[in-house]
């Protein structure tokens, strides 16, 4: 679920605290680069995970620390995979 808009610095703080963030936008490559940068700044070593089968079309790719902790993920939108908006 998409939350309030954040600055990049705030996104890094959120990730350091183990909370999820999502990079939104039409340009998938730019979203991915920004998500990778946020995760790297927040947690150093990272890895990419692509959506699991059971999430269907709803799942978003994400970066996460390797190894954990902290918890959470840095998701990013693609051309076809979008975050849900708050109602």
């Amino acid at each position: 679920m998409r939350g309030a808009a954040l600055t990049e610095a705030d996104a890094v703080k959120e990730r350091k605290a183990g909370r999820d963030v999502v990079v939104c936008g039409q340009d998938k490559a730019a979203n991915k680069n920004l998500a990778r940068g946020i995760e790297q700044m927040a947690n150093g070593k990272y890895k990419l995970c692509l959506p699991h089968y059971a999430t269907g079309g709803q799942g978003l790719p994400h970066f996460q620390p390797d190894p954990r902790p902290p918890d959470g993920h840095c998701f990013y939108e693609t051309k076809t995979r979008k975050s849900k908006k708050n109602p």
Binding site: K45, K47, C49, Y53, A54, T55, D66, P67
Partner: protein
């Protein structure tokens, strides 16, 4: 594994941009192919196995381990694969048709082998009718379980306030 292979996982994590981009496209194709595969084999599955195969998502759950024990008064054995996500424990109980296999990762596996968690998994039906579940773990190991029935047990820990007696 046929669909969500360690090799594909390594490719979409490649530092080479074109390799990673191609692998992301291949991943979407693998999801589509697996969906068709599951649709095809689902009629041969039991109700429980079919439902679990269609909906199970343990991605990122901490892998606590596997325990294999004989079933009293039966020839077979039971494997319990235990996982945790926050306050939720999940146990996959396999009524085995063969001993589980654990294939180790190559020495060059680049990701952490600590704090092992579940990455991806896929189901199949073997020619002899037994079911197969393969799991790729974050340390690069692949678990293969062959079984004739499967149950998923879930438990959420809740803390309760305890009143003090005067």
């Amino acid at each position: 594994m046929k669909f969500f292979t360690p090799e594909l996982y390594l490719r979409f994590n490649s530092p080479d941009r074109s390799t990673a981009e191609q692998a992301e496209e291949d991943w979407e194709k693998a999801l589509t192919k697996y969906r068709k595969h599951l649709h095809k084999i689902r009629p041969r599955m039991t109700k429980s196995v079919g439902e679990i195969a269609e909906t199970l998502c343990l991605h990122d759950f901490t892998y606590l381990g596997m325990n294999v024990s004989p079933i009293l008064d039966h020839a077979g054995a039971l494997a319990a694969v235990m996982l945790r996500n926050g306050a939720k424990d999940s146990i996959l109980a396999y009524f085995l048709s063969e001993e589980p296999l654990a294939q180790e990762a190559s020495e060059s596996w680049p990701f952490s082998k600590d704090k092992v968690h579940w990455l991806y998994d896929e189901f199949d039906v073997r020619p002899d009718g037994a079911f197969q579940h393969e799991v790729l773990l974050s340390n690069g190991h692949i678990l293969t379980l062959r079984f004739h029935e499967l149950r998923l047990l879930e438990h959420e820990f809740k803390t309760h306030a305890v009143a003090k007696r005067a």
